[in-house]
Symmetry: C2
Subunit: 176 residues, 2 copies
């Protein structure tokens, strides 16, 4: 029942720039039009958990990108837009409760997305695997992937891959 992070960040660990934008990432040419393994990853997961900010970013996309059930952790959003009804659910509670709740629904492989949500899961040592694509830019400021954490968490590297001259993708697996 793995909880999995799959995310891109800058060399200095930011997932969005200081304006909240990911233009610095999406503007990198992708001549081969590759999805860099994202489709294969999405096939593995049963559902997506994200925070409010990530949800708002995703809502700004031309269309809702997920075919798997999505869950937004938020105490402030009470209603989701009509066009994604049935595709997305608002949840609140502790991350432990949320994982239990989703697992009880048969949602076992959870894609955990967004800085605050990932940080909340890491604080509870609830992340089993992290695929981090490092983008060869130093942003200097922005939304950090990691936050402060009381405990040291050990991972081992399952594989690392140079996707193109701007992206390197590493898969880390939790090790006790």
């Amino acid at each position: 029942m793995p909880n999995i992070v799959y995310i891109a960040c800058s060399m200095d660990g930011y997932i969005a720039d200081k304006t909240g934008s990911i233009d610095w990432l999406t503007s990198i040419p992708n001549e081969s039009n590759s999805d860099f393994g994202y489709g294969e990853f999405m096939d593995r997961i049963d559902g997506i958990v994200m925070g409010r900010k990530t949800f708002e970013t995703v809502l700004s996309f031309p269309e809702w990108p997920y075919t798997k059930p999505a869950f937004v952790l938020s105490y402030t959003i009470s209603k989701i837009p009509a066009h994604i009804e049935g595709k997305c659910t608002i949840l609140n509670g502790s991350v432990n409760e949320i994982v239990q709740n989703l697992n009880n629904q048969g949602i076992n492989a959870i894609y955990v997305d967004g800085g605050k949500t990932i940080q909340a899961f890491l604080k509870e040592d609830l992340i089993d695997e992290m695929t981090i694509t490092t983008v060869s830019k130093i942003l200097g400021s922005g939304t950090p992937l990691f936050g402060s954490n009381e405990n040291l968490l050990n991972f081992k590297i399952f594989k690392t891959e140079l996707l193109n001259k701007y992206f390197t993708k590493t898969v880390y697996v939790r090790e006790q």
Copy 2:
């Protein structure tokens, strides 16, 4: 005349833990007793520039590790220990002045070491190449490799290499 960073950091971007220690790094088993390319890198450089903290860490090693001339950026240290006289020089001034000064002495390929020193060079866009070995641990706190920076800096990836199941080494080269 490249200024080069060659450093290890945790997944969350720390080069030392909250006590200033690098035990989390040096305790990782290295069964093949590999230097992971460090010797080859040291052959390329003409001299090392580091800050006071890195200097103090290096002084705690059983012996002085460098065969190339070393320079410590510090306004507080006025004297170096007798056993490294002739091997190490105290410098102060702006990083631009220091690079100019070293280049004038024929020290062209400069190994830039230590968080604050690297950050000061990056602020002036004086880093041409960064070899970052990412260690598969989340420390949660410590001494950060990167600091805030006004400008976005673009790099491209020269190569990436899985050294063992805990280390991945990526060479980034500055791109305008």
